[in-house]
């Protein structure tokens, strides 16, 4: 049996984390091929319901990553996202989703190395937990 490779969906803001992930590529810093990125202009766009939606549609983990506090391209989107996400994370934890599957990070456009580290860490954590089978919606 081949090793379990988690399927992680990441929502990255265009200005910081997406650019940071681009820098990870430019510097050829390697990380596990587990994460697939959905680009949004700002973490403020990420509806927390996307998190549960991703998990029940097949993701084993979700990451939301944006600009560091105070550095949001749109001034306050990351602050709004932080509040919304924390509540959603707590709610999902409360119904039995391991919090290691639901992560948020601040990665700036210059933190290519940090992006790789975040993905490596999140991947390792989810590998330990195994696939999130019980939450998956049936495919029609």
């Amino acid at each position: 049996m081949s090793e379990f490779e988690p399927n992680i969906v990441a929502f990255l803001c265009n200005w910081c984390s997406y650019a940071g992930a681009d820098l990870t590529g430019t510097t050829r810093t390697h990380y596990p091929p587990t994460v697939k990125v959905i680009r949004v202009m700002c973490t403020g766009r990420v509806n927390p319901l996307f998190v549960l939606q991703a998990l029940r549609q097949g993701a084993d983990g979700v990451l939301i990553s944006g600009c560091h506090p105070g550095e949001c391209h749109y001034l306050k989107g990351n602050f709004l996202a932080r509040r919304r996400f924390l509540l959603m994370k707590n709610l999902l934890e409360y119904i039995g989703i391991n919090p290691s599957r639901i992560r948020m990070s601040w990665v700036s456009a210059s933190e290519g190395k940090k992006f790789a580290d975040v993905i490596t860490e999140v991947t390792e954590d989810i590998k330990k937990l195994g696939p999130l089978k019980s939450f998956k919606r049936e495919i029609l």
């Binding site: 927390p48 319901l49 549960l52 939606q53 029940r56 506090p69 105070g70 306050k76 602050f79 709004l80 932080r82 509040r83 919304r84 924390l86 509540l87 959603m88 994370k89 707590n90 709610l91 999902l92 934890e93 409360y94 119904i95 039995g96 989703i97 391991n98 919090p99 992560r103 948020m104 990070s105 601040w106 975040v118 860490e121 999140v122 019980s134 939450f135 998956k136 919606r137 049936e138």
Partner: protein
């Protein structure tokens, strides 16, 4: 609660020239049921009632008509200042405050008669003790007991046995906003989230199996959504086909999405009236979800829904100092 005082106050309210009608409670058609009544004339006043059976929130009947009509100028505001009179309990007043904060209603359009509420009866509990009651029954509260009259026979039941679970931990029994208050203010309970904390402390597997068992039963009748005073969007995203957030099929996974969406949409908005849980035909402890959000919102952001109509809704604001330790 002195019913005569209630009727007198109602009479004064509909006697006011700006009040178009009054929303109150009347006995339902059978057993322990209660229904709303919309009173426009003095003749109808006699049907008014209030008792521990009055668990439904009358606030729903204000928002059910749709968006508040836009009042253009101060002058028009005065001339158009038609008001609806409404009876509210502590939780209802918070619902009103919250809806006013969300611009769903305007305070000027309401004449609020507050009733300090000692708690309501959980219909499921009383119908379990007294099944198949057909004729309208009466309940009054006296010295920690409910005196229940069914077909001229009286029964005494300790309040503890029948009172709704949410009311046991009610922090705001006295309305926070009103034009008139009927009776003396009541002291609320201190915040108590022991039940929530107990569930929080379980392992992820235990929590999931608990909720799986609960959500598995949901038949998606939407009674929770319809009875909720804060669920008043014109088009609910959970009903939509494009995009389809949740499928119509009744299975645990779709039910999960439905209830988590509801709990999240109520985060920082739920006023803990507990009606969703009481109307659930399959007994899903929905307040365990809503109270979890209420607890977190209070602990993390020092916020309580419906306390002040001037305060911006929780998720529309932020504090630079909000918790950050969970972020990588």
């Amino acid at each position: 609660m002195n019913i005569q005082k209630l009727k007198d106050e109602a009479k004064r309210a509909i006697g006011r020239k700006e009040v178009t009608h009054l929303i109150g409670y009347q006995k339902g058609s059978y057993g322990f049921r209660i229904s709303p009544i919309f009173i426009e004339t003095k003749e109808e006043l006699d049907r008014l009632t209030f008792s521990p059976l009055c668990s439904l929130s009358l606030v729903n009947y204000l928002t059910i008509e749709g968006k508040p009509a836009q009042v253009q100028s101060e002058e028009e505001k005065k001339s158009k200042a038609k008001k609806v009179a409404i009876f509210v309990r502590g939780c209802d007043s918070r619902a009103l405050n919250q809806i006013i904060a969300e611009k769903g209603l305007s305070r000027e359009s309401l004449y609020i008669i507050g009733i300090p509420c000692k708690g309501v009866i959980d219909l499921k509990k009383i119908e379990a003790q007294f099944p198949n009651v057909v004729d309208p029954a009466e309940v009054v509260e006296e010295n920690g007991k409910y005196i229940i009259t069914i077909n001229d026979q009286t029964h005494e039941v300790p309040k503890e046995e029948l009172i709704a679970d949410t009311c046991k931990v009610c922090q705001y029994p006295t309305p926070l906003t009103y034009n008139k208050l009927l009776g003396d203010k009541l002291e609320g309970n201190p915040a108590n989230y022991d039940d929530i904390q107990k569930l929080e402390e379980k392992t992820p597997e235990e929590k999931w199996s608990f909720w799986q068992n609960q959500l598995d039963r949901c038949i998606r009748c939407y009674a929770c959504k319809n009875s909720c005073p804060l669920c008043y969007c014109d088009g609910c995203i959970l009903d939509k086909l494009t995009p389809q957030w949740v499928r119509r099929s009744v299975d645990t996974n779709e039910n999960l999405m439905f209830h988590v969406t509801r709990a999240f949409h109520l985060a920082g908005r739920c006023v803990s009236c507990g009606e969703c849980e009481r109307v659930c035909p399959v007994g899903i402890p929905l307040m365990k979800l809503n109270r979890k959000m209420e607890k977190d919102v209070k602990e993390l952001f020092d916020f309580e829904a419906g306390k002040d109509p001037e305060v911006k809704p929780l998720l529309n604001t932020f504090n630079i100092e909000d918790p950050d330790d969970f972020v990588l």
